[in-house]
Amino acid sequence: MIDNTQDSFEPLSIDALRTMAGVIRCDIIDMICTAEAGHPGGSLSAADIVTALYFRVMRLDPQNPAWPDRDRFILSKGHACPVWYSALAERGYFDKTHLGTLRRIDSILQGHPDMRKTPGIDMTAGSLGQGLSAGLGMALSGKLRGKDYHVWIVLGDGETQEGSVWEAAMAASKWKLDNLTAIVDRNRLQNDTYVKDVMPLGALAEKWRAFGWHVIDIDGHDMTQIVRALETAKTLRDQPVCIIAHTVKGKGVSYMEDIAEWHGRAPCDEEALLALDEIRRACDLPEEGVR
């Protein structure tokens, strides 16, 4: 199932994935605190999913980011890029010292993902509603050329308010793209407030099913469920898979959890210390200072 043929990386166990997700959460807090700007809530809600992808499920080679046969990943909710940058750094795409340069002049880490600046970023993102379409193009190309790579897209639940997401959903079904998996980070909050109050999504799973997708509902913070769903998505045939990952925005930092304000606000130093302490305790990580 796991095919990391291009490097010697050993896919992590479920327990090790949980610990790595803690490391990534700490990176997220560090990065956004240092940058004094960014989007912690949606980075933290996606941390377990992104960790499972980069440290167990995806076929990739950090030494060769342009490897044509690699799996592709797109963080369509590009504002949550700290989670992506951390995963890439921890996986060895670039040195971790870059994480301290987020959003700074001349940094390789832009405020939203830029494929031309950051090794390992497969698609520029930031304007919501485009990642699934871009991934669809990658998946079509894979089919055309007989490549067996898989394309993974993480979308925000609020993002699915964009109509073009459903254009892409319709098309992926038309072309039976079983090499394409959409993971909806269903953290129930968007920039202004709760998704249900801004523009309710209704029966989200039923909508994806009606568009021809195989839908898997999971707890997006349960590593066992995440890994099982992702690996199932790789094996299903003739149909794209949508994993609806029920998550908590700000997961792991109790004062951020389920609070809309933490969509796009940076923690101050004291808040960051509090957050790091909580994350480390939860994962038995050693103590370090703020970067």
Binding site: R116, M123, T124, G126, Q130, S133, A134, E167
Partner: protein, 335 residues
Amino acid sequence: MTGLYHHLKPDVIDHLRQGTLLTRAPGAPTRYAYADAVLELGHRNPDVVVLNADVAKSIGTDRFAEAFPEREFNFGIAEQNMVAAAAGMATTGLIPFATSYAVFLTMRSLDQVRNSIHYPRLNVKLASSHGGITPGPDGPTHQGQEDLSLMRAIANSTIVAAADSLTTGRATWAAAEWEGPVYLSFTRDPVPYLYEDDVPFEIGKAIVVREGSDATIVAIRDMVAQALVAAELAAAQGLSVRVIDSHTLKPLDEPLLLRAARETGAIVTAESNTILGGLGSAVAELLVEHHPIPMERIGLRDTFAESGPYLSLLLKYGMSAGHIAEAVARVVGRK
């Protein structure tokens, strides 16, 4: 008259002398020339793919679909998805030609065009029919009068709008060779076959079609034919008018245009785009910074047009050959 014209077909020169270019000369919509060229590209290069949005039959890319069914993707009436999917394809090394009408390809999906194609400089070709007011009878909803302006404002853009079928084919081949995004603009209605096979065509290099010393008309796409007729009308008034086919709006052929400005001392631009932000703006910006001279812009003057035959619309909205010739007389008078 030898040496007055460059690269034009002999019958085009005859029509110009007889005043029948716009009514009698053979021609075709340039969208079909694009469809021919991309079909040829399909044979030459297995990386070329065509993306359609339910106007394949109108543009002629249904023939590519027949020839290469596995390399044609019809996205239906969903341009945003098509354009961003083209970006995804380009990241894998394919050369996608995303094909639709100007208004939809640029405006419906402008965010995708900007953020998913031009910002990451992905190798997508946007093939855009129904440029300017050439879809006359369809009316303003289908008349692409802003696409050149919008595309010009986007960084990393390259914009080519050829004047006839031959150069549209050349532009399509050149776009496939060009590394990075290219926007190609075609006409819905017929324009005359202007050029001989020997016409040099290179992205970024404008073509001097007619020599002249009193003023220069810089024209793009369908308006090159109007400009040629206008030059004849001006000649009848004793004015010697150069005509430049500025098929590449971006990057503009600045050296050639500045030479024309210095040598003729007056410029009129002609486009069936809005005068805001298109060719006229580009040339004005160049001149005001480097060589200010009397200049006028012909184009849609901040208005929507209406349904009607293409040539009638040019007359009603002040963009006909006669209007261009009058503008030439005015700029020469201001020297």
